[in-house]
Amino acid sequence: MKKVYIYNKYNRFWHWTQAALILFLVVTGLEVHGTMKLFGYQNAVTYHNNAAWSLIVLIIFTIFWDFTIGEWRQYIPTFDLMTEQIKYYITGIFNKAPHPTHKTKYTKFNPLQRMTYLGLKLMIIPVMILSGVLYFYFFNTIHSGTALDLQWIAIIHTFGAFVLVGFVLVHIYLTTTGHTVTSSVEAMITGWEEMSDEDAKYAIEEGLQVKINEMKKEIRSSNRDELLDVALRDVEAKFGYTHDSNLRQAVDHSGIGYFKINSQGRYTEVNEGWLNLYKCTALSDVINQPIALNRDESDRKVVEDIFTTVMQGKTVQSGEVKRTCKDGQVGYHTFTASPVLDENGVIIGMEGFIIDTTNQHQ
């Protein structure tokens, strides 16, 4: 015997609030109908109206929730296992037969429930709300242009009420057909449903399967590079340690500048050290800028030659070159430049390091 998490918080809040409101509406509605006396007629009418507005708000929220979270799929009607489910209630339940369907977070309802709840959501509740609103605004709607009276609205509204009362009776009774008599009610309160080991295993496995499927879908639809980065970062976070973070730190501390240029000759990545050497303050000053940024006529030619060479697949290790910083000062450095390859071996850019030699030059 295991307990499995089936109903989340909103699910439980919505279910019990709706249940309480419907029962309250039935009681006050019967008083308005003249069947019983409890709150006093005027209070009964006021409470009935207030409860109805509360229920409408709750239902609107829940429809929104159904669609955002995908819960609406729970209500897709199906005839799969329908006969088995009916047979279970007629014979199987008396012979200790297992439930023909499994209850999981993703398929909470058996085929009978799917049909019934869909009927409630699409037929009874809209009819009740519509007839109720017409009842409430009778003098602003039906009676304002014609002399029709309340009778048919009242009849439809009362009919719906009887259907709901019957539903509630059977619904409450069927909660006792779970693993134990109270397991379904307890699950609706706490979220955790008690199940046989087999059912629990199924529920857990399905839960995992669904999540994995979702993940696969997500992977298929998203950028691989990004995903890899995310995955790596996640793993790093879990381990609290990465290999390249040491290397990166070492490079950063040394003041060596790192740069990466794409095939269009534009900067795609530079590190802290590079920014310091070029006296730049923000990455945005550099990223996506052409390689010839901040260089005079002669320097530009040198740099463009190097870029062309590298893009042909050669690694360049240069001696000293001149650089013009952002504030106009002149500095010198030595550098390396090597091609960047993608997984198919095609050159997609250039990367390298620069080491400052301004002091030696003087």
Binding site: F24, F139, H143
Partner: protein, 560 residues
Amino acid sequence: MIYIKCYRACLSLKHRRTFTPVKMKGVYQQKLILLKSYKMKTFFKLVPSLILPMLLVFTFIFTYKGWEEKEIVIAKLEKASKNVDHSKFAELQKPFATPQEMTAACLSCHNQRAEEIMSTAHWNWSTPDTLSDGRVRHIGKKNVLNNFCVGINTNEMLCSGCHIGYGYSDKNFDFHNPNNIDCIICHDNSGKYKKSKGQAGMADTTNLKEMAQSVGPTNNKNCSKCHAMGGGGNNVKHGDLDMDMTDQDICTKDIDVHMAKDGADLNCSQCHITSHHQIRGTGPMTNSTSLHNAENRATCTECHTDRPHNNPTLNDHYNKVACQTCHIPTYAKINKTTVNWDWSTTGLRNGEQFKEEAPDKMKKSDSGHGTHTYGKNLKPEYFWWNGKTEVTTLETQIDPTKVVDMNALHGDYSELDSKIYPFKVMRGKQPYDSKNNTFVQIHTFGPKGSGAYWSDFDWDKSIRSGMEYAGYPYSGKFAFVETRSFWPVNHMVSPKTEALSCTECHSQNSVLAGLNDFYLPGRDRNNYLDWAGKLFVLFAALGVIGHSILRVMARKRNIR
């Protein structure tokens, strides 16, 4: 794929005790929760998701009373700080020999007012009434019949004791002589003015100078003198207009919230707004299908608006229910009112006049008037009404096999401008021409030998005299027919705590039991649907019970 691999790597770490889960989306968290050993959540863990929202929702349901908060406007007209002191006027210093001389003195200053007065119903006892086919007829006290004293023709000497003129003794009265206007009857502020009984409205001439000097704005006593005393006694006619309502010691808020000193303390004319001597408010007895008359009413909504409650559902009732219906649960709260006048029990017994009175004084008979039945603290009867009535005159053909309505009410549920109004229903039995099937004018008041019934006690002579005078044919045969007339109850508005409660209409023993041309929640239901619904719920319950019994039995069998 790499991503999945990474996750698998992470998942494999779950065995490590030092590992602390970081909130991540997806599989990993789910797995952890699933494998976590289950603990029953405590009550407090349910508070934020279940109990708190439920408390909030039901607090709203039980406390929210509606979103209409409208200020109730009580119009309280500013009373003039000081009235003109008529005792200082030179014109009023001389003694007046006749009341007409006094009126001439009034009109010497108020020189355009006579024309206004002479166009009012108060003066003419008749107003033009446009029928639905466009014809205009004149109706009013002059020719409309009721089921109290029936009509004024031949009886003007007595009836015109309430006319705002002097000497309206017969149909030849000069309605164009301004000096015949009785200004004092409405404007006397001394409370001492009297018209002599049976003298065609002539004033008691003993102290006309003092009367003339004491005039001022109209007050409740001026109006009530006629409107409360109509029908021959205090409150007997309307039932909601009582002379004692002008008495500050008797009229409390419980009697009438508007006129009581501890209530709004209003004057008649503060609701019955008057302009150029035309007073707002037309009685339904003398009113007909005329739009002008039906619209000339003083209404509650002028002060209170048509949505005065802060509960929208209560306000919606105004579409179909008049304010008076709920807010005047009882009338005739101080003195009794006549509810039945049976003229057929009149006549001499063994040649002698008789007079009988029940010990509780609620029933009275005599030779001249027949039998009066009274009621006190009465509950109104309720009818649909759109403000228009069908009045009865000597021309009206009646169906004597049924109870005849003297002022049949127009309107029913299906008419959008009809509302449910409370009425005092006056019932009676009065003579009619049994051959021509018309009502007859009876001559009641007059000297012996004139044919007046109260002197001669002979119906045939009385009717003959009345019909001849009025100019209508009389076949010579008469009988008595049962009648009803409807008197809308508009005054004696109770404090709001006394108003009809919902269930007085919305229940099986509804006070509106007679009005069944519409669906009234709480009173009406579709019996087929109710039975079908009850059966459905019953079958559901039986199914549940049967199924559970079978389950219990099966379980016992399985255990064995």
